[in-house]
Symmetry: none
Subunit: 221 residues, 2 copies
Amino acid sequence: MDDDPPIADLVATVARYEGWEAVTANSGEEALRRAAEFRPDIVVLDLMLPDVDGFGVLDRLRRSGTMVPVVFLTARDGVADRVAGLTRGGDDYLIKPFAVEELMARLRTVLRRSTGPGHQRSVLRVADLTMDEDTREVRRGGRLLSLTPTEYEVLRYLMRRSPTVLTKAQILDHVWEYGFGGRSNVVELVVSRLRRKLDDTGAPLIQTVRGFGYVIRRAAE
Amino acid sequence: MDDDPPIADLVATVARYEGWEAVTANSGEEALRRAAEFRPDIVVLDLMLPDVDGFGVLDRLRRSGTMVPVVFLTARDGVADRVAGLTRGGDDYLIKPFAVEELMARLRTVLRRSTGPGHQRSVLRVADLTMDEDTREVRRGGRLLSLTPTEYEVLRYLMRRSPTVLTKAQILDHVWEYGFGGRSNVVELVVSRLRRKLDDTGAPLIQTVRGFGYVIRRAAE
DNA sequence: CAGGCGCTGTCGATTCCCTGTCGGTCAACT
DNA sequence: AGTTGACCGACAGGGAATCGACAGCGCCTG
């Protein structure tokens, strides 16, 4: 549910890629109509709607009795503060421009805690490397690693998609904010820094596929 | 059970987040009906109902023979004094606007008193730090600390959710009253003050996850 | 009712760390 | 051996976190 098609499509595409069904709407009216018939498990609502008031949409959504969790999108200098208070219930919000993986991570988190009874932890694992998404602890063979936010995000994306090989462009598009200008070697750089921290102990985990991209997986035969 | 959907939703969402089941009602009639079929363990009743008399609801609830504990919500200049007389027997009340963590803490306390046989104490513990929610005593390795109300609430939230990493927005949304505008660094400040008191003795307990938020947990290896 | 005190939040200075750019070097494939 | 792609050291700009100083407020006390 969004205002400008690019963003809505972006979100829908990524969600579908994740294996979810997704429908989009270009106005508040349409959003409410489609939500009523589609019965979504989660709603992504852009509050910077040109014609409609995003909060109005939210109100009517709630008033119709649905408790579906909502994740809001908002511009930095927009209604960010008014939104802030809405994260209380387990709903969440992101400031545009955001990174696609960040959005998906938030959606997964909200879904996990809104549907499941207890908070079952989400722990990613590749070989002897583990990542706990609640505590943000990353361990290689038990040893705790200290990662910066960017390193953490890149590693999460690699682990989540493991053992798929990802191109640098894919990594850039998912982990950095959409519209990131830097056609540079940031990805290489972050991978390099990650390797230094990860492979400090044990065999190399992140492997280069020359001319294509990177994978994280147990060293191949 | 509430008047305006936002507050009712807020309460229900937070309760569900805690792992509880929750149903809401938009009128006194509906509240009584749903209470009869749902058989709740606890009722949150907003006394500032536009059409219905909150006390009437309470009376009829009691008249129907249920001893379910009730926690009231009321405006500051409302019927606070009349409510006070009703809070005997394990019930309680909050003045709006309240902080959600405060509400949840009260609900937990009332439930503990009403269902449990004896008053089993609720003591939170992280490493050598303990918090007794009955006596409000906080100790670091036996040494008693003197915390201000805000510090106490922030610490409780951090301890209760430990070892999950919480964003500043989460902390702000849960510990401060809903509708708190503060686009400021209050959270950072309170954490700073807490640290000075906590880490006075022993290793740092509240850790910064740069670019993300804070956790309280035993210092990592 | 004035004064004092403790609590809370704002402001701003400082420090530290993260991030991305540049460019030289190295490795791999042809 | 040449060419292309990958790696990573060094550096600088910017942003995040911390905390001292202070002001407003409410509460208690005299």
